[in-house]
């Protein structure tokens, strides 16, 4: 039976990419959930663009402090070793390669790893926030998104039709259906959701996928 991954499962899968000692920036939504699933024994340092490093889990609104938020406006908790600094310093960290991994949402990812995630063209106006800086500067960029839009449009495409956030910047795409790596040779299908075949994934993916020799079901 075909079983797409839910958001928690996608976040769990994304969290597996985080290595011990990594400095990590998480977007809101599915990426943010990944902070709940850091593999046992790994220390990960969370970074946010508004000027904070080393914070802990998200807090419920009622426990939150307006002076301790992430760039998505979520309340976060204090942790030993945390530090505050300016946004210019926060983005200096990003551009200079001090952020090992970022997990972001996506509207479209192209064959060569171009990312579009800052503007819905039909709105006519976009919120760029820190997305272009992360796209330009973060070490490894993981995109978590649905494999297709609500009305069935493909989101993994030959060329982005939406305004791009960054060129050739994405390393890994984790959708509800598959885990796809961006390589110099093209998109490599590495893992599929339970019950899905490579053909199923190709049917909803515009560029030709290279199927990994060791293609397997997503494991967490």
């Amino acid at each position: 039976m075909k079983q797409p991954m839910d958001h928690e499962t996608m976040a769990m899968r994304a969290a597996r990419e985080l290595q011990d000692g990594n400095v990590v920036n998480l977007g809101i939504g599915i990426p943010g959930l990944a902070s709940n699933f850091i593999p046992e024994g790994r220390s990960v340092i969370f970074h946010s663009e508004n000027g904070v490093l080393g914070f802990g889990p998200l807090l419920d609104e009622s426990d939150g402090d307006v002076d301790l938020i992430n760039a998505g406006g979520q309340f976060v908790s204090a942790m030993p070793g945390m530090s505050f600094f300016s946004p210019a310093d926060a983005f200096a960290m990003i551009r200079s390669g001090h952020i090992d991994v970022t997990i972001m949402g996506g509207l479209q990812v192209s064959e060569r790893g171009d990312l579009a995630n800052w503007m819905m063209p039909n709105r006519g106006i976009g919120n760029v926030g820190g997305s272009m800086d992360l796209a330009a500067g973060a070490g490894k960029i993981i995109v978590t998104m649905e494999h297709v839009t609500k009305d069935g449009q493909m989101k993994i495409v030959r060329k982005c039709s939406y305004p791009v956030t960054g060129l050739a910047c994405v390393s890994l795409v984790i959708t509800d259906l598959a885990v796809i790596e961006v390589t110099p040779k093209g998109l490599v299908l590495r893992e599929v959701a339970p019950g899905y075949t490579a053909q199923d994934i190709q049917a909803v993916t515009e560029p030709k996928l290279i199927v990994a020799k060791d293609l397997k079901e997503v494991s967490l």
Binding site: E49, E61, V66, D67, L68, P87, N127, D133, A136
Partner: protein
């Protein structure tokens, strides 16, 4: 004379902002670090045709507690005081929410320049650092690079970006001493710290004013020479 930059009211602090001024408004997006009382005073003062430089145009409910009343930049758009906005995150996240800025923008009443947030932070810093322009890798190949010089250094493409400066900065800090030395609280430091350096006149709304000498010289984040006017929040509005 010992230096004392404390003013008695928010109204007095913003009284001289003229029509057509460029005004930076600090904070990130939520109530933390937002100079709400200065914004309200500028709304009441009524200066028009402002160019506002601010991370957002006011995001309803962002990083706020339920039921918390938040005064932010939005009131300036409601009151039609702004002719241009320079921002990174101008509209509500959800397409179903319509902000005062969004309405004004849709009506063609306000011009918008969208800037990537790291470039925005760096442009503010450059404005306060006497750096005219800089090359950043951010936004190369995107529509926000349109019309901007691209230059290759060591095999990588960079965009030329210009400094941002302003006539006035309205910012929030946690504590000020009377000379204007400032400390902030947590993530509410945000863009306040850059704007303090990049405006001709920096006006600070603070939770608390202390005597000069009470802040540890190692912990001061904004040295007082950047600050022109200080007003304390009334205790009930902290």
């Amino acid at each position: 004379m010992p230096i004392n930059k404390v003013l008695p009211s928010f109204a007095a602090a913003v009284a001289d902002i003229p029509n057509g001024a460029t005004v930076m408004i600090g904070g990130f997006a939520g109530p933390g670090g937002m100079p709400s009382n200065l914004i309200l005073a500028l709304r009441n003062q009524g200066a028009r045709d402002l160019t506002v430089i601010s991370n957002t145009a006011g995001l309803p409910g962002f990083a706020a507690h339920t039921g918390q009343t938040i005064i932010n930049q939005s009131v300036l758009f409601e009151n039609k005081q702004v002719k241009k906005l320079i921002a990174t995150y101008p509209v509500p996240r959800s397409m179903s929410q319509i902000s005062a800025f969004m309405k004004a923008w849709q009506a063609g009443e306000v011009e918008l320049e969208v800037v990537p947030q790291g470039t925005y932070a760096e442009r503010l810093r450059a404005g306060g650092a006497g750096i005219a322009a800089f090359y950043t890798p951010t936004a190369v190949g995107t529509q926000l690079a349109k019309g901007k010089e691209v230059r290759t250094f060591d095999g990588r493409d960079y965009l030329l970006e210009r400094a941002l400066k302003a006539d006035y900065a309205l910012i929030h800090a946690h504590k000020a001493d009377k000379m204007g030395n400032l400390v902030y609280k947590g993530t509410s430091r945000s863009f306040n710290v850059h704007m303090a350096t990049a405006a001709k006149v920096t006006i600070v709304e603070v939770d608390e004013i202390v005597e000069t000498g009470e802040l540890d010289p190692e912990h001061i984040v904004t040295p007082g020479i950047y600050v022109n006017r200080i007003v304390a929040r009334p205790k009930e509005r902290r």
